[in-house]
């Protein structure tokens, strides 16, 4: 097990370096010369050169990259060009709202998907099954922003629920109100895949010997499905859900932007469209690292649930 984790970390290392290289590149494309900016408009040529030397900008690129790495290691990601706050500070503000939104989406979408998938598997081949599967294909085909637009138009427009921004942490009543629409939007694209995975996985276990044994013992149909089959079908479902959480992070970029949700995704889009390079670098870095961390955790969890993985 420890070896498996170590192996995974070894693979992540070059990936992390690649991600950091992109972050570094982002700071290189800044159209203005940072030394000139720091020196101010009245500085002489010699002063600019001195500042450039102090900032290490006259060093070879790889030395600058090494310096960048050491700065990142010390959590120094620079300052936002627009708000003038440090990038780490900005990330601190936005990280929790994003996590909150993802959790709020998962908390309804996963149970909904598992229930729908279970019903579809139990009613296999019937109209109900076909309807649920059709719904699931539609779910993966719909642009996430359309769901958001429809909710804003009909629910938000009618004044039923807020659709602009976050009115507080999720444990306050206002916060809870304001998260409903974004969480519904983000979760909606997740229900379909979960339902489909559940159906496939459950159909496999429903054919297993122990399920027949349970039936022979006289357990009721639903009891067999839920207590015996679903429990065993759950392992692949949980891992697949874990793998898809990363893709939820992708969907949150669009959702946050639509609902003015103050999360990392919206910050990334805002920074890119306003050419705030240091902030864009920080946002992309944190999204990528967050994503890698989730993948790593899921992978290790999977190996823990199913020891065959670690051994192979």
């Amino acid at each position: 097990m420890a070896r498996h984790i170590a192996q995974r970390l070894m693979i992540s290392l070059p990936v992390l370096l690649g991600v950091l290289l992109i972050g570094f590149l982002l700071l290189q494309v800044v159209p203005t010369d940072p030394a000139t900016v720091v020196a101010g408009p009245t500085a002489t040529q010699a002063e600019v050169a001195a500042i450039r030397h102090d900032m290490g900008l006259d060093q070879p690129v790889w030395v600058q990259f090494a310096r960048y790495l050491s700065r990142v290691a010390r959590l120094d990601l620079g300052r936002s060009m627009i708000s003038n706050r440090t990038v780490v500070e900005e990330i601190g503000f936005t990280l929790w709202p994003t996590v909150e939104l993802m959790l709020a989406s998962l908390i309804w979408a996963v149970p909904a998907g598992i229930s729908l998938g279970t019903i579809a598997a139990r009613k296999r081949g019937t109209l109900v099954d076909r309807a649920i599967m059709a719904l699931s294909v539609m779910g993966v085909s719909v642009p996430i922003f359309w769901i958001g637009l429809l909710l804003i138009q009909y629910v938000g427009g009618a004044g039923l629920l807020p659709f602009q921004g976050r009115d507080g942490p999720i444990w306050t009543l206002d916060g809870l109100h304001s998260i409903i629409l974004p969480a519904f939007t983000l979760g909606a694209v997740f229900v379909g895949p979960v339902a489909r995975m559940t159906r496939t996985s459950l159909l496999e276990t429903l054919g297993a010997d122990y399920v027949r044994t349970a039936r022979a013992k006289g357990a009721s149909d639903w009891r067999v499905t839920i207590r015996h089959a679903l429990r065993n079908a759950l392992i692949p479902i949980v891992t697949l859900v874990g793998l898809q959480i990363g893709f939820l992070l992708g969907g949150s970029v669009v959702t946050e932007t639509m609902f003015s949700w103050p999360g990392v995704g919206r910050m990334a889009v805002g920074a890119i469209t306003s050419s705030d390079f240091p902030l864009a670098q920080g946002a992309i870095l944190i999204l990528a690292v967050g994503f890698m961390t989730i993948n790593l955790i899921v992978d290790v969890l999977y190996a823990y649930l199913d020891p065959r993985i670690a051994r192979s």
Partner: protein, 301 residues
């Protein structure tokens, strides 16, 4: 964002490839499946509409007419505009046709280029055994990142616009096509004619391009087509965020974003482009599912 992007086990790829070799039978199966046949028909119509947009569009998609702004569909004052007009009085039907044209055009171009790179990576990984592990590891890493992150990073480095969009869509198409191409090439590598080619003294180049690639490209082409649905969804999302196509370009994603400001007074301005995106992607996914079912004998029973 969808289960289509989940990595498949390698043997599933192999099974699918083997089945694809009987592709005539597969197309017959698909056309007998009503939803899949309908999806195919719809896609043919959509592609034709995109190609002939300049000929069939009733108006200039960029000609504004402020007297007709936000005229809803069916209103008497803009009876000639079947789906009404947008915020500057441009004809919705014409903009949709041209939007379809640019959305599909960008996606096809991007997936073709990215898929081309992916296909070559796959072929090389199958042909040169030493390259297999490093190349496929790289592919797995690319596959493990959400596509929208590539979009964000590329837009951040190169700036927003069509070029960035094209590159982002192309890059995200590389890994899945590389996997398919490697699987296809691996089964071709075991064919006797590969050995025969080597025996008569052909070089690596000739073996790869004239023997391996030529036998793999139909398979790769089919998967490339299926990749289009995902590319359209991603491209529309990036344009919606303002990172891809910029207004006034008629592109479905940016049209939807544009109409957002008039959601309460003229919802159709953004709803109709959204619906078009949805239907096109749905058609690609229905066709893809039918193809996967036809290809995977385990799911068929």
């Amino acid at each position: 964002m969808s289960d289509a992007s989940l990595p498949l086990p390698a043997d599933a790829d192999q099974l699918a490839i083997a089945a694809l070799r009987r592709k005539n039978a597969i197309w017959r199966r698909i056309l007998r499946d009503p939803p899949a046949a309908l999806a195919t028909l719809f896609l043919v119509v959509v592609v034709a509409a995109a190609i002939f947009a300049p000929l069939i569009a009733p108006f200039d998609p960029y000609a504004s007419n402020m007297r007709l702004r936000l005229c809803p569909p069916g209103a008497a004052r803009c009876a000639a505009n079947w789906l009404g007009t947008d915020q500057t009085g441009r004809d919705m039907v014409s903009r949709l046709l041209f939007g379809l044209r640019s959305t599909l055009g960008i996606c096809i171009l991007a997936v073709a280029i990215g898929g081309g790179f992916g296909a070559v990576i796959g072929l090389f990984a199958a042909y040169y055994r030493r390259l297999e592990t490093p190349l496929m590891r790289l592919v797995d890493i690319m596959l493990s990142f959400p596509p929208i992150l590539f979009g964000l990073a590329i837009a951040a480095v190169l700036g927003t616009g069509l070029t960035s969009l094209l590159i982002a869509l192309g890059v995200t198409a590389i890994p899945s096509i590389a996997r398919i191409s490697r699987a296809a090439a691996q089964s071709t590598m075991q064919q006797e004619y590969m050995e025969a080619g080597r025996a008569v003294g052909l070089g690596d180049g000739a073996l790869i391009w004239r023997y391996l690639a030529i036998n793999c490209w139909p398979t790769i082409l089919i998967y490339l087509t299926l990749q289009l649905g995902q590319a359209i969804l991603l491209g529309a999302a990036l344009s919606f965020l303002g990172l891809g196509a910029q207004p006034p370009t008629a592109e479905l994603g940016s049209m939807a974003a544009d109409g957002r400001k008039f959601l309460q007074i003229a919802p159709y301005v953004s709803t109709v482009p959204c619906a078009v995106i949805f239907l096109v992607v749905l058609a690609f996914n229905v066709l893809g599912d039918a193809l996967r079912d036809a290809l995977d004998p385990k799911l068929r029973q």
